[in-house]
């Protein structure tokens, strides 16, 4: 410990002998660390945005459905509206919000045109707590009750059907017996969505109205549940799994949308690769700086060896010097990254390339998500790899022959 303090002081002073070099290296480390963290936060923000946009637009964190629904999403595969144990579980503290829906493929026909859509029979109050739709009405109103006779369409669909608020449309689908099921609706509301596919592809009506139209009283195709954190739905899945009846299964969001599900692990891998790549680019400069620092200090190192310092002490001095450099760089880099995040807290407007982002299912505002886990990972990675990178120059320094070192001109 005592020796460590002595070496640390020497290392600290040595660091500022060539302040120009130290400042350049510090800038490089700072930039590297900043880039590691800021970029990671951007990527996380992007993925978070994508996943949240997607799962909180409609699916929810967890869904309860008929086991056959995934393979054959038809109106035949329904589950009963929740009751008993399931209802109790849904009303429990782990569940933030839940609602039931009837989802069916349907054709909407106006006087001018017709389109294929997903018809969603919803409970307005439940939907309000769970999905975007109730908040994004641009004209008219949202549904008021499960047996509301009206229908809500997306802005783009209204355009395509050449219809408007207050007009009537006919919705055609089929009941479980494959009989044609149709009904006329008055358009009571028009919604917008960040994702144009939603405006085009979804129409909303009261759940009871739709159940009546499709002749499936008391049955729904999905029960969507929102927990408090989409990253951790294991508990919720397990809890509901114990409560559902035999003819239903519980699926977390990453099972509902395999594509979204594959995003998270993929991004974890990407973040690690990015951190390591930036560090490698840095490491050349770091090793170079240390080699130079050792090289110009050969005589002094020889002197210390002659005075009776153990090689291990010389080695620890170089390593401490390297770690000091890294720690300062990390602190400034972390701080800058944090400041950048504060500055971007309201989100980065990406509307210039918005069309393209839409294609990736992304919204046009990117809010970076700084995760403690990533910051820790970046810092720990830099320290560990930095330690490893400084071993070689440090070891070489400790192997100098004191006589040669001292007599070196």
């Amino acid at each position: 410990m005592r020796i460590l303090l002595i070496t640390a002081r020497l290392a600290w002073r040595n660091l500022w002998r060539n302040h120009r070099r130290t400042v350049i290296m510090l800038s490089a480390i700072t930039l590297g660390v900043w880039a590691m963290i800021a970029m990671t936060a951007m990527i996380r923000g992007m993925v978070d945005g994508m996943i949240l946009d997607s799962i909180e637009t409609l699916p929810g964190h967890v869904q309860i459905r008929h086991p056959g629904y995934s393979d054959d999403p038809s109106i035949e595969k329904t589950v009963a509206e929740p009751s008993g144990a399931l209802l109790q579980a849904l009303e429990g503290p782990e569940v933030v919000a839940w609602t039931t829906r009837v989802r069916a493929v349907a054709v909407v026909t106006s006087e001018r045109d017709s389109r294929g859509v997903s018809l969603l029979g919803v409970i307005p109050d439940g939907e309000r707590a769970l999905s975007f739709i109730a908040d994004d009405i641009v004209e008219g109103r949202f549904l008021e009750s499960p047996d509301d006779p009206g229908i809500v369409l997306g802005r783009k669909l209204v355009e395509r059907l050449e219809t408007k608020l207050g007009r009537r449309v006919v919705v055609m689908s089929q009941d479980p017996d494959n009989e044609l099921a149709d009904r006329g609706f008055r358009i009571v509301g028009i919604f917008k969505s960040k994702l144009s596919a939603y405006e085009d592809g979804f129409v909303f009506a009261g759940q009871a109205t739709v159940q009546k139209m499709l002749r499936i009283p008391g049955r729904v195709t999905e029960i969507a549940v929102l927990g408090d954190n989409y990253r951790d739905v294991g508990g919720l899945t397990g809890l509901l799994g114990n409560a559902v009846p035999a003819d239903a299964e519980v699926l977390p969001w990453f099972e509902l949308d395999k594509y979204l599900g594959s995003m998270l692990p993929m991004m974890d891998g990407f973040v690690l690769v990015w951190i390591v790549v930036v560090f490698l680019a840095l490491s050349f400069g770091l090793v170079n700086t240390l080699v130079m620092a050792v090289f110009e200090r050969v005589r002094e190192i020889g002197l210390m060896l002659a005075l009776g310092m153990k090689p291990a002490m010389i080695m620890s001095q170089v390593i401490i010097e390297s770690l000091l450099l890294l720690v300062i760089g990390l602190l400034i880099g972390d701080l800058l990254a944090w400041l950048t995040m504060q500055w971007l807290a309201d989100g980065l407007d990406l509307s210039i390339v918005a069309d393209g982002l839409d294609r990736f299912g992304m919204s046009t505002t990117l809010v970076p998500a700084l995760q403690a886990r990533d910051v820790v990972m970046a810092n720990v990675t830099v320290l560990i790899l930095g330690f490893l990178a400084s071993l070689s120059p440090a070891w070489r320094a400790s192997r100098y022959n004191p006589i040669e070192a001292i007599t070196k001109v």
Partner: protein
Amino acid sequence: MTAVKCIEVCRTFKQGDHKVIGLDHVSIEFAEGDFVCLSAPSGGGKTTLLNAIGGLDTPDSGEIYVAGKRIDNMSKGDLADMRLHNIGFVFQAYNLIPVLTAQENIEFVMQVQGVPAAERSKLSLDILKEVGLEGLANRRPGKMSGGQQQRVAVARAIVSRPALVLADEPTANLDSHATEQLMELFVELNTRHSTTFVMATHDQRVMNYARRVIKMLDGRIAGDIEQDPV
């Protein structure tokens, strides 16, 4: 008591294809409290002998004892410890660690030895006074003259009271006034603390202060003269 004893010490170096003889069957003893000058032309073997005694270099054959302990077969770590506790070094130049002040340079060895801070500070200030550098405690080496730097180096070498001080051309970079001052300091320390001094030099002014001058040539002892110092 003998401070240093060398028996049949040999050391050869390779310089390209040539074999250069550094030490050729050197046997010699220095008594405790001795003030010895190793004198030789360049390549005569004085620095090689000094390095061997200091454990900086290991001889090819022969035995070396310092303070009664055999050192030629010691491990690197033991040698480092031996140097740390028993030997003080003064080199020709680059004696000091540039990032430490005069006082810190002097305290450095004690610090590694584990001497408590208060004692360290007292000892180092005392010794600075003794070498005549009172008031320069907080200067860094870059802000001191060559003579002052060498005196700090001497202070560091003797502060932990080693039995033996080895000095390799300590005056090579000094003018005659500084040389005189440094040598007088050596003599004073030698008599006051009865520290053994072994110096390698080819400076006649330095030799004049020695009580014993050992002349070396081509790695052999060519003469061993007891003299009265000037």
